[in-house]
Symmetry: D3
C-alpha cells in the first residue's frame, strides 16, 4: 500500500530498495551525469549545499515528513534505517531550524546511515565533518527543535522541490542532490554509464584541441539560424 | 549609565567584561550547546557565516553602530579593544559594503582582538585567513566605504537580529554566532557544561547502538499521540 | 565597430586586449585594491562566488550573451579564446542552469583559458577544482541546458550588475570579481600599485601598534562632528 | 494509468475531476480553512501571490510541466481545458520568465478556464486584471519565452513545493494557494464546513468579548507549563 | 522591573504607555517624518509590508515573544491589550507561519487593538481588510500554528531588526513601520512637528519652481567637491 | 562626447532625446510588447515594482549614478529635467535606502518629470500616489539618506541589470520597466505597432474559440518532436 504526500502519523516499516550494485553504480556517475541520463529531471533546488566538499554518495531514501522546528520524527526514522540508507527530511512548512546534530548523526551512523538530505537547518557541522557524515542542507543553523507533533516516516515527501518516495535513490555530491525513482534506477544507470563512456571519448578529443563546434557539427545549424561572424 | 540602542555619536570607554575563565569555558562548549543551555536564545541569523572554517571563539563584545557604507567608527572602536575582545558591527541600515579588510585586522589584532562579527560585508578574506583572523559576516564584498558620519562605540546594537550589549560574550564557530548576556554568563556556562557531560553519556549509548526512542523513552508518548506503524 | 548591449546573433572575432604585463600587474594587486584604485567602481554583485578558494586571476574578457538555459554560445566562444583570456557569460534573462561543466572546461583550458565568470550556474565543480579551473558563479547547479537559440560572442554584456566589454580586464579572487575597462587599465594599475605601496607602509605602522585614529589624523574631525567619549 | 512526476512528452487527455458541487463548496471555505481542514497540508509556497486582490477560486487542475523559459505546452494544455478548470504550471527548472499573457488568457477563458497558478512569471497583468482572469504567480515579469522543447500536460507536477495531480482541486484566494487531492475532496469539504460552523460560533463569543484563554480553556495548561504573570 | 530580551514564560501585566495625545501626534506625522525626527533610527526591515494600503496608525506596543510556528502567546497577549494598543510579535526563530487570522483579530479588536506588527505570516487577509484591521507582516501565509510552547508577553523583543519595549510607540503606514521609545516620544513628536512645518514651507517653494540646489544652497559645496558641468 | 559607466563627478547638461511622438507611441504599446518588439531585450529585473498600479509611462531617461544611501545627486538631476523626462537612479553599490520622497517629487513634477525608476528604496508612497507620481523601485523604505559624496548625472548607468544611457526611452507599466535605446526607438516602435496589429487579429481568433495549436500550426512540429497524446 502507498500513502499520499502529506500523510501524518504513519511509519512505514518495510520499504523496497534498489539493488545495491545499481546504487553504487549511480554513485560512481555523480549528480550531473545521473540528472542528464534520466532526462534532466530529479534535481533538488540549488540551495541544497553540502556542509563539506568532496563527499559523493548514493543511497536509498528513508523519508521523514516533519513539522516545522520539530525533530521528533528523526528518532523514529533512525530505527527504520538499514545499512546504506540515507535520511531525507522535508518539513511540512518552511523551517531553518537545526533539526540534526552530532548525537543523531552518531546514532544514524551506527546503523549504517550514509548521510542526510534536509530542506532545513543542521548544526554541529564541525563534528559532522570530523565524523565524515555528509549532510546536504538548506542552511547551517544551531536553532534547537522541539518534540511535540507527529510527522511520518517513509511516506512520499516533497524535498527542496522534488518528490522523493521511500526507497528512491539519492545521489549527492559537490554539485548538489538528485533523486532517481527506484523503478527507473537500472535504466538510468545504464544510460548514465553510456553517457560516461561517450564523455570519455569526447574529453579525449577536447584535450586534443578539437572544438565542440566540430565534434558536435554545430557550424551549419548556427549558420542556418543566422549567426554572423564579424 | 546605559545608552539605548540607536544612540549615535557616543564612545563608551569603560565597559564591563565577564571573567576570562567563564569566556574560555563558553568557547569550549561551542555555539549549539551554549544556545541550548541558555534556553534556545541568542542566535544571530543563519546568514552570518565564517570566512573560513574551523575557528571557534568566545570573546567580549566591543560593539559598533555604524552608518551604512561608512566604516569610520571601526577606527574609533579599535582604540577601545582590550585583549580577548571581539568587534561586533551593526549598520544602522542594511549594507553589504566591505567595511573591514586586512589593514584594520592588523590593527585590531595587535591590540588582542579575537575577530569580527559584522552584519555587512568584509574583504581581503584571503589575507584574513592567512592571518588566522576569523570573521563572521553577512557577505564577502570588496565595496569601499566612506568616513563621513558618526556612529557609536559600545552602545547596545541589534546585530543580525539579536541584541548585543557591550561586554556581552560572543560565541562563534562553524555553526554560526551566539550572544550570551554578561550577567548570565556564569549560569549559562554551568548549564552548558552540564549539558556537555550529559551529551557525552548519551553519545556513548548511541555509539553502543541504543536508540533515542529508548534512551529518551519516547515510545509511549508517540503511541499516545497516535503514531501508527504499518 | 562596436555593438550595443543586447545584440544577438553576432560573433566578434577580433577584439583588442590590454598589454599582458598590465593584466599580470592587476592580478598581483587583487580585487579590493583594484576596485579602490579605479574609484570604487567595477565590482560584480557579491553573490558571485568562487567554486574553490585561493584562485587569483586577471585576464581579458571574452564575453558571451546567452539565452536563459541555453549554452550553445559557449561552444562558439571557445573558438575565440586566446591564451590568457577568461570567459564572461551573462544570460539574457535570469537563469540558475548549469551552463558549464568539465568537458567545456577541458576545451577552454586547452586554448589557454584562465577561468569563467558566469551569472548563472556551473556544474562538475569537483572536476573543475581538480583541474584547477576557477569559476566565479551565481550558484552551483547541475541543471542541463539546451542548444536552440542564438546569443552573441564578444559584444558588451551586463554581468552581475556590471557592464563588461570584450577585452576588458577581469580581476577575480576570493573577494569576488572586478572589471577594469581596457582603456583605463594602465592608469588603474599605476594607482593600484601606488595604493599597495602606501598600504605596506601603513601596515607596518599598524603592526607597530599605531592607531588609525592617529595615522589618518581623524581625532579632530571626529570631535568637530561631535563625537563624545564617556 | 498514471505517469510519474517528471514524465516529458505526454499529454493525458482524460483526467478525473471532482464533483462540481464539492469544488464550489471548497471555494466558499477559502484557503486557510481548507488547509486546516485537511490537516494543515497542501499549501503552496508563500511567494505565490495573486496579481490582483479579491479573487477566490476553486477549480480542477490541468497541470503543465514546462521547460524553463518555454511556454509551448500552454498551447497544448488549453485544448485540454474543460469549463471550471484551472491551469497549474511548474517549470522543470526555476524560471521567472513571463510564460503567460493576455492572448493565452483570452484563449483559456473562452474554454471556461478559471485562472492560472504558475511557479514562474506572468505578464500583461493589467489586461488580465481587466479581464478578471486571476493568476497566482512567483513574479510579474515580461520576459518572452520560446517554443522549442516538449514538456507534458496532465502529469503530476511539483508546483511551488506541493505535489499536484491533474484533477486535484486548487483553492486560491488572497491568502495564497492550497491543493486538495481529488480523492480526499469530499471529506475535506465536510471537515472545512464543520470548521466554518465552529468558527462562526467562536466568532460570536469573541465579538461578545470573551477571551480565547477562556473559550479554549487554556489557563490551566499555561499555568502547568509554568507561565508566570508579573 | 525589566526583563531582558529572550525571557520566556513571563507575562508582564502593567506596562507604561505614552500619553495618548503624543501617540496621536506621531500618527499624524507618519513613518518617514518620525524616523527622521528621531535621528534616522527605529525603522523595521523593509520586508514588513501592510496587507492593505492606506492605513496609518500609532499605538502602544504590547509585545509578544513567540516560538516558531506557535501562536499560543497571542491569546495570552490579547488579555493584556488596552484601548489603542497594537500587538507586536517576534518569533524566537524565523517563521513564515500564519500566526494570526480573523478570529484573533475579532478578539483583539473588541478590546480596542489598533492592529498587528508581525515578523512572520498572517492569514485571512481579505477578512482583515474588510474589518479594517491593519497588519504589517513579513508575508501572507495560511500555514497553521500550534499551541505547545511558552513565550512571553510584554518583554522586550527584537522585531524585524529593531528592539521594541512594551509600551514603546509603533508608527506604521504605507512606508513601513517605525518604533519610538516611550521615554523619547514627546521629544520626537516636537521634532517631527517642527520638521513638518519646515517641510510645508519647503514644499511651497518647490511648488513655485525653486530648486533644491538653491533652497538648500548646495551649489558651492558641490563645486568644492569637484562636480563638473559639461 | 560620451562618458563611461562609472564616471563620477560629472553632470552632462545637453542630452539627446527621441522624438516625442515616438515616445508616446511606445507608451501606448506597453512593456511586454516593446520588450518583444526589440528582440526580447531591455527588461529591468523583476524586483522593480510600481508603488501603485495602473500607471503606464514612456519618457526620456535623465540618469543618476548615486553613492549608496546618498541622494545628493537627485537635487542636481532635477535641474536637468525637461518636460516628459523620467529620472533613472542606480546606486553605485546596493542600497535599500529611501532616496526619494514627496518633496523631491514635488520639485521634479513642477519641471515636467513623469516619474522615477530607482534601483533602491522610495518613501512617502502614499503622498506620491495621491500626487499620481509613479515610481518603480526595488523596495519601499523610509531610511533617510545623506548628502556627502558626488555621483553623476546623465552618464550611462546599469540600473537593475540593464544599461541605460541618458536620453534612452524608459517604458514602464504594471509589468515592470523596459529600456529602449534612443537610436533604435523608431524602429522598435514600428515593430511594436506591427506586433500590436497582429495581436489584435490573433485575439479575435482566440475569442472565436480557435486554438493556438491551429492558429500557429503547431501540431505537426509537436508530433515531430514526439509528443504523445494518451
Amino acid at each position: 500500500m502507498t500513502y499520499p504526500v502529506g500523510t501524518q502519523g504513519v511509519v512505514v516499516q518495510n520499504i523496497m530498495r534498489a539493488d545495491q550494485s545499481v546504487i553504487d553504480g549511480l554513485a560512481a556517475c555523480g549528480v550531473a551525469t545521473v540528472h542528464e541520463a534520466q532526462g534532466r529531471k530529479g534535481l533538488l533546488a540549488s540551495y541544497m549545499r553540502p556542509i563539506f566538499s568532496g563527499a559523493r554518495v548514493a543511497a536509498s531514501a528513508v523519508t521523514i515528513s516533519a513539522p516545522p522546528c520539530d525533530n521528533w520524527m528523526i528518532h523514529v526514522a533512525i530505527e527504520q534505517i538499514k545499512a546504506n540508507d540515507i535520511l531525507v527530511l522535508a518539513p511540512t512548512s518552511p523551517s531553518d531550524a537545526g533539526y540534526f546534530g552530532d548525537l543523531l548523526a552518531t546514532s544514524a551512523k551506527v546503523r549504517g546511515c550514509r548521510g542526510l538530505i534536509i530542506d532545513a537547518g543542521v548544526r554541529d557541522v564541525r563534528d559532522l565533518t570530523e565524523m565524515n557524515f555528509p549532510v546536504w542542507s538548506k542552511c547551517i543553523f544551531a536553532q534547537g527543535t522541539i518534540k511535540e507533533t507527529l510527522g511520518s516516516v517513509n511516506v512520499p515527501v516533497v524535498c527542496a522541490g522534488e518528490l522523493v518516495h521511500p526507497g528512491d535513490i539519492i545521489v549527492a555530491d559537490d554539485d548538489g542532490v538528485c533523486v532517481v525513482r527506484r523503478e527507473e534506477a537500472e535504466e538510468v544507470l545504464q544510460k548514465a554509464q553510456a553517457r560516461e563512456a561517450n564523455e570519455a571519448e569526447k574529453r579525449a578529443r577536447f584535450e586534443a584541441g578539437e572544438l565542440g563546434l566540430d565534434i558536435y557539427k554545430m557550424r551549419d545549424r548556427l549558420a542556418e539560424k543566422g549567426l554572423k561572424y564579424v
